[in-house]
Symmetry: C2
Subunit: 609 residues, 2 copies
């Protein structure tokens, strides 16, 4: 079993991830989040909201997952969102043509369908499933199609990204922010890609969750007001130059922006913010890097683009976030297709004097002569140059017909006017997160098989015999011994910020005199907004193991001493150490351990080590 | 403008609801949640989670919105999820055939497409849009269709409800709960219905959010362990009998269950829980009732079914929640189609002695004679009756061929065995919430146009002149006067539990010495998990109005006195009264006002009234 399989075995068994439609044999590219997975996923999303909505102030919106065709014509997805597809003539199995060709040549991804077909024929590539021949490769659009309304209805698509919602709502959003740049908006929701042959489990899904942020900035000012917050932060950058050298570099954000490695401050700030977010939810910093798009992979309109990549055991480096400066590409495209100007009026710090050529048709004179056509004649006159207007008889073409206007019917002049601002089409900085991949990343990076005996020896955990006189130590010590007997334990070292259960409360025995105070503690912890679970099934040792496997950072055990001295045992998941602390104020103590970085050693009276 | 239009005008202007794809002319049946709407909606969902996941312990799962065909064959949606459709021959417009017929006869909803076609012809019903004739009505399936994968792919549907996810995952869920009934699971997510002609705005959407809970119970025990919690609660019940009488009745949950008005305790408990939830998120109890399905509208398999209905200005009584006992219908249907037994093994309190007839084929003798077929012969023998097995020569049919088995090759007997439990197919109790309709309900029920002058007179609010000597009163009083000058104010009386902004913090002027302490207060409120907004744009009076329109329960104003005496003004949205309270501890004070029901009068030193 490789690590992916091990993580998945645990994920299925413990209710993190299940194959969708398992009852009916499943369907590739779809997964269900079970009870613990759903909680973990929501917590990751919640931390994301804290970063982007609460701290950064980019408000969240929610648009439909079904979109109408115009939107995706403008976005380019109708025209260009496709992968080259090859089908086996014999067994009918579908493959990505570029993946078939990858093994025999480099840069297969840059070839057209025609070129791929040629290579497949020349190299005699056949179906990996049955050895059959392939038909010609063609571009397969990856959007799921559907029909809105009855009959022939209206063409609809399941959105391939959430971003378009923010672009389509740009005018509404701009008004909401009182037309002041910069502003941003986010969306967390489902997106869809009808992958040709998803073979990478949860890494390549047909239905997935994105968290995307579109930040609209003034193109003339890409400094970030809060840049100093992250300027000194060191990042692992796999820049274009570093990729040529074959080795990522460590560099502060300030240095990267000053040297032009990262294009500007807004992008630098957002890359650092992503770094902060990912490590907060439990991505291992040692397996995280930011890779810059190479010139030939970057979209033609983009100024700069970076992917956060994490290292995985089976799939190598996997992209989980993209952070790009998309310029005015999206807004301009929507403006063109919708025939609606999309801009923000930006006031100058102080008004400017601007000289410009103005044409003033005399409607009093044009009206009697051109009647109903006077307005179009006037509009046509406004388009003429000074030279054309200087003729005695001015010629204009109206509705395909040339008409003559005498020079007294129009005035023109160079004027100097005071201009207090201008219309600006904002540039878009887009951090785009793949939540399912981050979810998987937190699971794989949290996963550990630990040799318990060795761990116990290293950390000085002792058996119970030596503390025989102390009541609590006997019981808990007995369990510690029980722990040491098993050779390895599976432990999910989830960050407290995302662990689906933060505290397990365990009565030593399933008896009312112990379960009642245990349930009281659960109540107090929930009151404090901690995710607390009551668990009385099986021996204490088994319950500790179960909670290690689901990544519960702390377990609280209620035993008979609790009834006498009003203290409980708190066990730390990672070190397996235990302390004894009073029931009174236990909710505050755990809150501090989880959210305030309080050290476990300070949490109570150590015993058992 | 009716109330719906007024609510919508405010909803659009303030960023609650926008028409989807407005830039491209929109598309019926789709709405966007703007920044405040998205927050309000998420808070409603969050309260729902507190009720169902945290309190009731029904864990949340997340399944794909795209489903494979088998699932919806089993659920009955492929066969029967349709509305009768009529298209105009002239203009092509589509209509619900039953809606067309509703005006000329009762119970149009119960007619078949053929019957509707006949009525339309007989009564000469023509297109309301253009007067054209209609073609024949036919059943239109309301699921959005799509294709999974390339080529002819696999038929997929956008789920019409989230419930099927819990049924398909039943075995996984049962294992998660260690096979102990009752247990439940919930899902909050998008569902889709390709409505023929959605004409009721946000009430009838093609894409909508559901929160559904499936509670799996032992069919032999529909008592609720926690029934006493709600037993004395009075509900407005529009039962089958009450509907005949034309008047809802008020009744306690206990009385309703005892009299058989509500089928059993689990259903009674869940109706009361729904009542509790809806009033908590701001549905007006005076505009809420529970209507029982009539015998002819209830699904044939259901035992009892109730809809929570709210009264709206334009649409009358609208269903927003359904609570049903669906028996074992769903699990049995999935078991049949998937050919997988779906049950929970339930242990008896003590083992039972059961007498049964057992057949034991002697494989040692069958083997040499029937060779490879011995196993199927043995299986066939097990199906025979005592009489058939008592023959000297026993005949069985195997693979369409009759074979003869001699009597010494099989033993049979009546045996009495100890049985310690049995397999039970659970019944399903399903509370199903339409989140978008609840969202609209909270908006319409919160909406009020208030005559400010009258209100001021009633509540004894005074102008500022009389308190001229007191510094803070001058400024704030001036604003109160400003408030009184406008004739009406729009105010959204959102419950604090769901208001998208809970506290607005307003520096009197946009100057650093005031904005800095205001921002500090925002920080402290957020630390306390309160939704706080900083707002410094426009006069205080305008900011109060804006916050009334978005339903902010409390506004905190920082003025020059704040710098001297470290106090701020807190204004109560509903009464427009103001008190002066210390900055120190302001976050706890507001927390208590919002979550602990502390009275506003006790919040500080009153002034200005």
């Amino acid at each position: 079993m490789d690590k992916y399989e091990k993580v998945f075995e645990l994920a299925k068994r413990r209710g993190f991830l299940w194959n969708s439609f398992e009852l009916y044999g499943g369907s590739r590219g779809f997964y269900d989040y079970g009870p613990l997975g759903s909680t973990l996923k929501r917590r990751i999303e919640q931390v994301w909201r804290e970063f982007y909505v609460i701290q950064e102030g980019h408000m969240e919106i929610e648009c439909p997952t079904i979109g109408i065709e115009d939107v995706f014509i403008a976005s380019g997805h109708v025209g260009g969102f496709s992968d080259p597809l090859c089908e086996c003539k014999k067994c009918g199995e579908a493959f990505r043509a570029d993946h078939l060709v990858e093994n025999v040549m480099n840069a297969a991804g840059t070839l057209s369908a025609e070129q791929l077909t040629q290579v497949i024929k020349e190299k005699g590539i056949t179906c990996p499933e049955c050895g059959g021949e392939f038909n010609d490769a063609y571009e397969f659009n990856l959007m799921f199609k559907t029909t809105i309304g009855p009959g022939t209805g209206r063409q609809g698509y399941l959105r391939p990204e959430t971003a378009q919602g923010m672009f389509v709502d740009f005018q509404r959003l701009s008004r909401f922010y009182r037309d002041k740049l910069p502003f941003g908006a986010v969306q967390i929701g489902k997106s869809y890609r009808n992958e040709i042959a998803p073979r990478q489990g949860v890494i390549r899904l047909r239905e997935f969750t994105q968290a995307e942020c579109e930040i609209f900035v003034d193109p003339r000012n890409k400094k970030h007001p809060n840049f100093e917050r992250f300027a000194g932060r060191e990042l692992v950058l796999y820049s274009q130059a570093a990729q040529e050298a074959g080795e990522p570099v460590r560099m502060t954000v300030r240095e990267a922006v000053e040297k032009g490695v990262i294009a500007h401050e807004v992008l630098g700030y957002n890359i650092a913010l992503t770094n902060e977010f990912l490590t907060k939810v439990g991505i291992d910093p040692a397996r995280l890097r930011f890779r810059q798009h190479l010139k030939d992979e970057m979209a033609h309109y983009a100024i700069d683009c970076w992917d956060a990549e994490i290292e995985t055991d089976r799939f190598g480096w996997v992209e989980i976030v993209g952070i790009a400066d998309r310029t005015d590409y999206d807004l301009s495209a929507h403006a063109r297709v919708s025939k609606t100007e999309l801009y923000v009026y930006v006031e100058y710090d102080e008004p400017k004097m601007v000289t410009r050529f103005t044409v003033k048709p005399n409607m009093g004179k044009l009206g009697p002569i051109f009647k109903g056509k006077a307005k179009v004649v006037a509009d046509a006159l406004k388009q003429l140059s000074e030279a054309e207007l200087s003729q005695a008889e001015i010629k204009v073409t109206v509705d395909g017909e040339e008409v003559t206007v005498s020079s007294d019917m129009v005035e023109f002049a160079e004027e100097t006017v005071k201009v207090s601002g201008e219309n600006v089409v904002p540039h878009v900085i887009e951090p785009s997160y793949g939540i399912d991949r981050i979810f998987y990343g937190t699971m794989e990076h949290a996963f550990e098989e630990e040799n318990v005996a060795q761990k116990a020896a290293e950390s000085g955990l002792k058996g119970s015999g030596e503390e025989g006189e102390e009541g609590p130590a006997v019981e808990a010590g007995g369990e510690a011994e029980g722990e040491a007997e098993e050779e390895t334990r599976l432990v999910m070292r989830f960050s407290s910020a995302v662990a689906p259960v933060q505290v397990a409360v365990l009565p030593l025995l399933t008896r009312k005199e112990l379960s009642d105070p245990a349930k009281d503690i659960v109540g107090k912890l929930r009151e404090k907004n901690l995710l607390a679970a009551y668990d009385d099934s099986g021996t204490i040792g088994r319950r500790y193991r179960r909670n290690d496997e689901i990544g519960t950072p702390y377990s609280v055990t209620v035993d008979y001493d609790t009834l006498e001295d009003k203290t409980v045992t708190i066990r730390d998941r990672d070190s397996m150490r235990q302390v004894r602390a009073p029931v009174e104020g236990i909710e505050n103590l755990l809150y501090e351990l989880i959210y305030r970085g309080r050290s476990f050693e300070s949490a109570g009276k150590p015993f058992n080590f």
